[in-house]
Amino acid sequence: MLSKRIIACLDVRAGKLAKSIKFVDTKDIGDPVEKAAEYYEDGLDELVFYDITASSDKRDIMLDVVESVAEKIFIPFSVGGGIRSVADANRLLWAGAEKINVNSAAVGRPALIAECARAFGSQNVVLSMDILKVETNRDFPSGYEVVINGGRTPTGIDALTWALQGEEMGAGELVVNSIDADGTRAGYEINLTRMIAEAVSIPVIASGGAGKPEHLLEVLTQGKADAALVASMVHYGEYTVSGLKRWLHDKGVKVRLNH
């Protein structure tokens, strides 16, 4: 039986691990390579790195991070942030990333998803979506809108429509990130996650809002997510990956324990 995955998200700014609160005010909390190795030893299922470096000239630092991580950890990891072309994606995959995450650039030019899927296979292409709750109306039948640039810019695109289009274009997985929940540690957006998970036939990774083990249980059962992204709850040592997985196992969720 397939296990539910626990994925740790590391926001990396100029080579350092940063944690954002509602996508503004970020502060550095350590070395991403060390954190990745620590989580790997503790039984983490997967890693995702988001490059939140503001200036593109510092992007090569991210390649160094990816190379260093690939030398040390032998679980899948994906990288996102600033990928605008197949060439951008290719550099990260060559440096050792398993998958690439596309987000804002794909909203601006959806063909990017298809181009990456053709070049690397759908299984290597993850579509990350940042989503805000809005009033349900003709423009937003799902009641959710896609936003870009770290949550700052509305797009006028309905979230469910975009999820289905992303699947159609060849994304192999979806990250559903609620901007409303992100950084609040008050729980995932269950309604949003379930709506998308029930509509698409590719795996859905829930993101934003994890603060307690109960939140993971909720999103992996009621929310129908295939995987749950965690960040601050493990970054500051409040919870451990192995502790979370043991807790979920005891609650009846199938997770990988014996690593």
Partner: protein
């Protein structure tokens, strides 16, 4: 002192071979990534990895003269390890692009097809193996251990070649073997310590099925 075995990692533009080479290094295998048919024929061991589409992969194998080189290598009786897409191409035929494959193992490769959204395709994530029969390549792992899978097509070899099964909507063959050939549907290079444990066994494997 005998020289270190030459392990060839087959390069046919199918995925991140660097990950396989790094995982090999971790267990003391110095793999050489190569697309040269002669280097593959003369290697002591071969790793045939891969991700992506079987259709273009089979075309690339033909274009580079690797198709026959892999058949020759298998016939030599030396240890041969297939991973993921590499395992699928060992069968006679794949439905992905309706391609004839190497045919080292009787059987074919079919697509997961679920109307029920409970089973997403691709099958992505960690899943368990149910070992059907002992094999020296599995000496470091146990029944129920979990490995990392990413695939939309699954292998259906004939029964004698099934070594382990995995449940995803239905039970499918996740490890197959025939003589000096051993292949996994899951990614050994991305399956943490358990994956490295199988690569570790490959380092010592003599290519026989006796435990």
């Amino acid at each position: 002192m005998p020289s270190a075995p030459r392990v060839a990692i087959v390069d046919y533009d199918a995925g991140n071979l660097g990950s396989v080479r790094r995982a090999c290094q971790e267990v003391g295998i110095n793999g050489v990534i190569t697309a040269d048919p002669d280097q593959i024929r003369s290697a002591d061991k071969v790793i045939f990895p891969g991700v992506g589409s079987a259709e273009s992969a089979v075309d690339t194998l033909h274009a580079r003269g690797l198709f026959d080189a892999l058949l020759d290598f298998y016939a030599s009786g030396k240890p041969f390890l297939g991973i993921c897409l590499g395992s699928q191409i060992l069968l006679e035929h794949t439905d992905e692009g309706d391609k004839d494959c190497l045919g080292i193992v009787p059987g074919c490769c079919e697509r997961f097809d679920y109307a029920d959204r409970q089973y997403k395709v691709p099958h992505i994530g960690w899943n368990q193996i149910e070992i059907q029969r002992p094999h020296p390549m599995l000496k470091n792992v146990q029944d129920g251990d979990e490995f990392y899978f990413v695939h939309s097509y699954f292998n259906r070899p004939t029964e004698p070649h099934i070594v382990a099964m995995t449940e995803y909507g239905h039970r499918f063959c996740s490890v197959l073997a025939r003589g000096n050939l051993f292949a996994t549907q899951f990614h050994l290079e991305k399956s943490g310590r358990k994956g490295l444990a199988i690569l570790d066994a490959f380092r010592d494997w003599d290519g026989t099925e006796s435990c």
